[in-house]
């Protein structure tokens, strides 16, 4: 197997750019499944791209680049979510009145996905929007395939309710 690290930089840069452009949509959706806003998700993707480039020379399996990019994106998104956490002084506590970012009325499926529990959201997003296999999703999430499957099963039940698509 060719080591990416041995390719001339221009070729590597082009190869990396192609991979990012090819996977950019999946990276965004992956980040968006973790974060509450498009802007935060896009920031996480930008971070992931730059971080990935800094470590691209270490990637030994070109065929795994999508999984690798999604893992980095997921990590950046989780970091961003942690940073977005709020510590409120007890004596300052007051009800929050800000809700989730407004969503377009023409994306009922996406709205339903976003309403799923966090542990189901990423798997569902990659499965339905990116048509990724259980095996691929398991690699990204670093979970056994059975766990991914059970999460999708639970999510499917919920989505049937939310979308009123019970097939009856």
């Amino acid at each position: 197997m060719e080591l990416l690290g041995t390719a001339p930089e221009d070729a590597r840069r082009e190869e990396f750019a192609d991979a990012v452009l090819r996977c950019g949509r999946a990276m965004f959706l992956c980040a968006r499944s973790v974060l509450d806003s498009d802007a935060d998700a896009e920031d996480a993707v930008s971070e992931a791209v730059l971080l990935a480039w800094s470590g691209y020379g270490k990637l030994r399996e070109p065929g795994a680049v999508k999984t690798w990019l999604l893992k980095i994106t997921l990590n950046c998104a989780r970091q961003a979510r942690r940073r977005a956490g709020k510590i409120i002084y007890t004596d300052d506590l007051s009800p929050y009145d800000r809700g989730m970012e407004d969503r377009s009325p023409d994306t009922p499926l996406w709205q339903a996905v976003c309403s799923l529990p966090p542990e189901q959201r990423t798997a569902v997003t990659l499965f339905y929007y990116e048509d990724m296999s259980l095996k691929e999703i398991a690699r990204v999430l670093r979970l056994p395939e059975g766990t991914v499957k059970s999460r999708l099963n639970r999510a499917r039940t919920r989505l049937r309710e939310l979308l009123k698509e019970d097939g009856q």
Binding site: A84, R142, R156
Partner: protein
Amino acid sequence: MNDHEFDLRLKQRASIEADPVPAGLGDRLRATVEELPEEQRGAKRARFSALRPALVAAVLVAALLVPVVAAGAGTGFNFLTFFNGDRTTTIGDPEAGETRERSLVYGIRGDQITYFPVESLSDELREAAKENGDETAIVNQSTWQQAEAFLGMELANSSVLKSGVQTGFGWAQSDSEMPKPCKYLFHLYGEDPSSIYIYTYYYGLASGVRITMTIEIMTDSFDESIRDEIWFMTFGDLNDTWTKEEYLTPTGLETVIIGDMGDVADQCRYNGVFVLNGMIYTLQAAGPDAEQVVTVLKEVLDGFQ
């Protein structure tokens, strides 16, 4: 409709429904990859001017800028590597009202971070993480001793904080949540937690300055394929008045103090950051008077042995 049919229908629906991906993402990604910095290998050298400021995140700048300070040999303390934290400018499309500013402040060398064996964590913590899967588990503890027992490791603390007045705080994962009252909050990521964030107490010190301490702990469960040689931390959305001071405590602990003269309720915020025993500590001090906030923060930092 069976599951397979349902899946097919949803995949079809996902493909025809309005795309949740924002318009222009592809163009922005293209701009990012077209202006990637020169690839760095071995010695990490800065090419900051080559980066497109609008799209540069602190994470990579931390990885690329030339270290300004690298010391601490023989002190027993891990050292921080500070960077010339020039600001990035804007993220997003100003014409679309998406302007967000972000500042680049500093980075911490990844090789200063310890990836602790998951086995060294307490059974209780590992069980909590297992229950929650790969998502964030949030666990609240009531006392410092309970927090250490839950972690399974000792944590450093400042003598000043120990003698201060502890209060709780409210925690919200995002703006969409109601804050929950907490005292020692653990965030665990992953079934075998790859990272643990401990948000400890804040104190309304006698001076009126409030202190919040965050301890970040990495484990060997952190995906090796995405570990970078450089770890990173960022403070985003700082205004023009941010400051940076490298501060050496009397015991030789190297810290950096990042100031943000923010406009939130007229509070100045200063973050004292250091690495101790392979863990990243961030102490945020807040109060109305900048000079007093820095003085108190330094007293607290000096209290770490």
